[in-house]
C-alpha cells in the first residue's frame, strides 16, 4: 500500500507530468470560460496531443482540463448569464442575479471553492468505491458484462433531457456505427462498402471531435455572437466562503453525494448533476422563495455536485470500460491507447497508476483554487477574444488533430461527417451523448452479447441464471420501462386533478 503510494508519487513527480498538468489546467480554464466551448470539447481536442505524452501525463492532461473547464464555465454564467459549459447552465440565472446584486465575488468564489471541494469528494468516492467493486467485477462473466453495458446505455437514454424514444434511437445509431469494420465475431468486412478506409472501423475519437467540436462551429455560424463582458474590478474572491461552508455544510454534502451518484451512472454527467442538485436544493431549502433572486444556496449545492461527478464518472470507466459521461468516454479511448485497458485487473496489476490518477485528481482540484481565482481576474480580457477568432483555430485543431490520430486523411473525413450528424441530431432533439456512448461501447456490447449467445447455445435462460446477472437484467429492463411508467403516471395525474376540481 505505502509502496504503491510512493510509486504513484514517483510517477507523477516528473517534469513532463507537472508541465502537462499545468498547461492543461490553463487550457481547460480558458476553453471552459468561453461560451459555446464545452468541457467535453476541450477534452476531445486534447486527445491528439496526448498521443505524444507518457500514459500518466496523458491522463493528467485530461483530468486537469476537464475539472478546470467545468468550474470555469461558471464565470461567463455569473457575469453574462451565458453558461460557459452546459454544466453551468442550471444555475447561470441565479449566479447572474447575484452579480446584479453586487455579489459577483461571492458567486464566483462559491464556484471555485465548492467546485474544488466537490472535486475532492468525487476523488474520495473513486478511491473508496473502485477497489471493492473491482473485487466483485473479477467474478463477472460475459452475461454480467452484457447486462451492465445495456444498463449503462439505458441510463444514458433515461437522463437525456429529451424524448426517451429519440434517445434510444440515438443509442442505436451509435451502436450501428460501431458495427462498421472487420473487428466482429466473424472477422468479415461489415458495412464497409468496399472502402478500405472503413475496414479498421470508425475511430471513436474523430467521431467525438466531430460531434462536439465541428457541430459547435456549425451552430456558431447561425447564432448571434454573445455580448462582450463588461470589465469590472473584483474584491476578495475567497472572502466569506468559509462562512458559507459552515452555513451550508449539509447542502454541500448532499450536492457531493448526488454528484457522485450521477457521475457513476453511465451517460449522466456534470450537467445532469448540476440540474438535479439545483432542483433538490430548491426543494429542500428552508427559504425556497429566495431562489432565482440571487441566493447562494443553490450555487453551493450544484457547484459541489457537478465537479464531484467528474471524478466519480471515472469509476465505471476504469472498472468496466463503461463511460460515466462523455468526458470519461474520451478518457477511455486514451486509456486504451496508452495500454491502461480498463477492467478490474487494472487495480491489481497497475495499482500505482491508479493511485497516480487519484493523486492527480486531488492535485488538480487543489490547483483549481489559485488558478481559478487568477482566471476570474483575467476573464474579462479572455472573453474579449471574438468568436470569429476562436472558431477558425478550433477548425484547424479539428483537422490537424483528427489527422494525427492515425496519420491519415480519413480521420478528417470522419470528423466532417460526424460534425454533420451531430448537428442534425442536436437540432432535431436526438441526444448526441447517447450516440457517443453507443459508439464507444458498441464493440464491447457486441462481444459480450455474441459470446453469451454462443455459450448459452441460443437459449435465453442463462442470461438470467446467475444472481448478479439477474439483478443487472432487472435494472436494465426497469430502466427501459421507466419512461412508460412516467408516461402512464402523467396520464393519470391530470385525470385525478380534473376529478378533484369538478368535485
Amino acid at each position: 500500500m505505502l509502496k504503491t503510494l510512493l510509486d504513484a508519487f514517483a510517477l507523477i513527480s516528473t517534469w513532463e507530468v507537472i508541465i502537462a498538468m499545468f498547461a492543461a489546467s490553463v487550457y481547460g480554464l480558458v476553453i471552459g470560460s468561453l461560451p459555446g466551448l464545452s468541457a467535453t470539447m476541450a477534452t476531445a481536442l486534447l486527445v491528439p496531443v496526448t498521443f505524444y505524452l507518457s500514459p500518466i501525463a496523458a491522463v493528467a492532461t485530461i483530468v486537469a482540463a476537464s475539472s478546470m473547464a467545468i468550474f470555469s464555465g461558471d464565470i461567463p454564467g455569473a457575469l453574462l448569464r451565458i453558461p460557459g459549459t452546459p454544466a453551468s447552465a442550471a444555475y447561470a440565472d441565479e449566479a447572474y442575479a447575484m452579480t446584479r446584486k453586487g455579489q459577483a465575488e461571492l458567486a464566483l468564489g462559491a464556484g471555485v471553492w465548492f467546485s474544488a471541494v466537490g472535486g475532492i469528494a468525487g476523488v474520495l468516492s473513486l478511491m473508496i468505491l473502485a477497489p471493492p467493486l473491482a473485487e466483485i467485477a473479477l467474478s463477472f462473466s460475459t452475461f454480467e458484462y452484457f447486462w451492465l453495458a445495456l444498463l449503462g446505455l439505458m441510463c444514458a437514454t433515461l437522463v437525456a433531457r429529451s424524448s426517451p424514444v429519440k434517445a434510444i434511437a440515438g443509442m442505436f445509431i451509435g451502436l450501428l456505427v460501431s458495427c462498421v469494420g472487420i473487428e466482429n465475431p466473424g472477422g468479415v468486412p461489415r458495412f464497409t462498402f468496399g472502402l478500405t478506409d472503413l475496414f479498421g472501423g470508425i475511430e471513436p475519437i474523430p467521431a467525438l471531435v466531430g460531434v462536439f467540436a465541428v457541430a459547435q462551429v456549425m451552430r456558431a455560424m447561425l447564432t448571434p455572437e454573445p455580448p462582450p463582458l463588461p470589465r469590472r474590478k473584483f474584491g476578495s474572491i475567497m472572502a466569506g466562503q468559509w462562512r458559507l461552508t459552515k452555513l451550508y455544510h449539509w447542502q454541500m454534502t448532499r450536492g457531493n453525494i448526488v454528484g457522485i451518484i450521477i457521475g457513476v451512472l453511465p451517460g449522466a454527467g456534470a450537467d445532469m448533476a448540476a440540474w438535479v442538485s439545483y432542483a433538490m436544493s430548491k426543494r429542500f431549502s428552508k427559504e425556497p422563495e429566495k431562489f432565482g433572486t440571487g441566493h447562494v444556496e443553490g450555487l453551493v449545492e450544484a457547484g459541489a455536485s457537478n465537479n464531484a461527478s467528474i471524478a466519480s464518472g471515472w469509476v465505471p470507466s476504469l472498472l468496466f470500460g463503461i463511460p460515466g459521461d462523455t468526458i470519461a468516454a474520451i478518457a477511455i479511448g486514451v486509456l486504451y491507447m496508452k495500454g491502461l485497458n480498463p477492467g478490474p485487473t487494472l487495480f491489481t496489476e497497475k495499482a500505482s497508476s491508479m493511485y497516480a490518477i487519484y493523486l492527480m485528481f486531488i492535485i488538480a482540484n487543489i490547483m483549481m483554487i489559485p488558478l481559478g481565482i487568477a482566471m476570474i481576474r483575467v476573464a474579462a480580457y479572455i472573453l474579449l477574444a471574438p468568436r470569429s477568432a476562436i472558431m477558425p483555430i478550433i477548425m484547424l485543431c479539428c483537422a490537424v488533430g483528427s489527422f494525427a490520430i492515425g496519420n491519415n486523411m480519413f480521420g478528417v473525413v470522419t470528423v466532417a461527417a460526424f460534425g454533420m450528424v451531430g448537428y442534425v441530431m442536436e437540432a432535431n432533439g436526438y441526444p448526441v451523448a447517447a450516440m457517443v456512448l453507443g459508439i464507444v461501447m458498441g464493440t464491447m456490447v457486441e462481444q459480450a452479447f455474441v459470446t453469451s449467445l454462443i455459450k448459452s447455445d441460443g437459449s435465453i435462460l442463462p442470461f438470467f441464471e446467475r444472481p448478479v446477472a439477474a439483478i443487472l437484467a432487472a435494472m436494465a429492463i426497469g430502466a427501459l420501462l421507466w419512461p412508460v411508467m412516467v408516461w402512464v403516471w402523467r396520464k393519470m395525474k391530470p385525470a385525478q386533478t380534473a376529478a378533484a376540481a369538478s368535485r
Binding site: Y52, D93, G186, V214, M221, M395, M409
Partner: protein
C-alpha cells in the same frame, strides 16, 4: 435544420431496415449459430422500431423545448433570415473536406490559411482581424503539431522555415 419528426423517423426506419438487411446477408461463421450478422440484425430492428415510434409521435411529450435565454435590454437582434442563411452551417464540414483534398497539393500552411480566412469571415469578422489571423495561426498550429508533436503535416507549395 429542424425537420419534422415524421421525416427523421422515416429516415431511421429506412436506416434500420437497411442495417438489418445488411446484417442478414453477411456470411455466417461455419459451424456456429451466432456470427457477425446477429448484432446488426438486432440493432437494425430496434432502430426501425424507434423510427416508427417517432413517426407516430410516441415520447414527444417528454421533449423540452429549447430555452433561449433572452438578453437584457433586448439587444439580441433577430438574425437575418434568408433562404441561403441556413446553408452557412454546412461551411465547417465543407472546409474540412476541402482540407482533405487540398492539403496534399497546396500544403498545410496555405490550406489552413484559407480555412481560417473563410471561417472567420463567415462569422462576421473584418479583414483587419481575418488577414493577420489567417497569416499567423497556421504557423502557430504547425509549430505545435508539426514541430513539437511531430505530426507529418504536408509541406506542399510553401514549406515552413523549420
Amino acid at each position: 435544420m429542424r425537420l419534422p419528426d415524421s421525416v427523421t423517423g422515416l429516415f431511421l426506419v429506412v436506416l434500420g431496415a437497411a442495417a438489418a438487411y445488411g446484417g442478414w446477408i453477411l456470411p455466417p461463421v461455419p459451424g456456429q449459430p451466432v456470427g457477425p450478422n446477429v448484432f446488426p440484425l438486432v440493432i437494425g430492428t430496434g432502430l426501425a422500431l424507434c423510427g416508427l415510434a417517432i413517426v407516430f409521435g410516441i415520447g414527444h411529450s417528454f421533449e423540452e423545448e429549447e430555452e433561449l435565454i433572452p438578453f437584457e435590454d433586448g439587444q439580441a437582434a433577430p438574425p437575418p433570415q434568408s433562404k441561403l442563411y441556413g446553408l452557412r452551417a454546412l461551411l465547417p464540414p465543407a472546409l474540412l473536406l476541402f482540407y482533405v483534398f487540398a492539403a496534399d497539393r497546396l500544403g498545410f500552411i496555405i490550406t489552413a490559411a484559407i480555412m481560417v480566412y473563410v471561417t472567420s469571415t463567415a462569422l462576421g469578422a473584418k479583414w483587419k482581424l481575418t488577414l493577420p489571423l489567417a497569416a499567423l495561426s497556421p504557423f502557430a498550429i504547425h509549430l505545435i503539431f508539426g514541430k513539437l508533436l511531430r505530426v507529418p503535416l504536408p509541406a506542399g507549395l510553401l514549406p515552413t522555415p523549420w
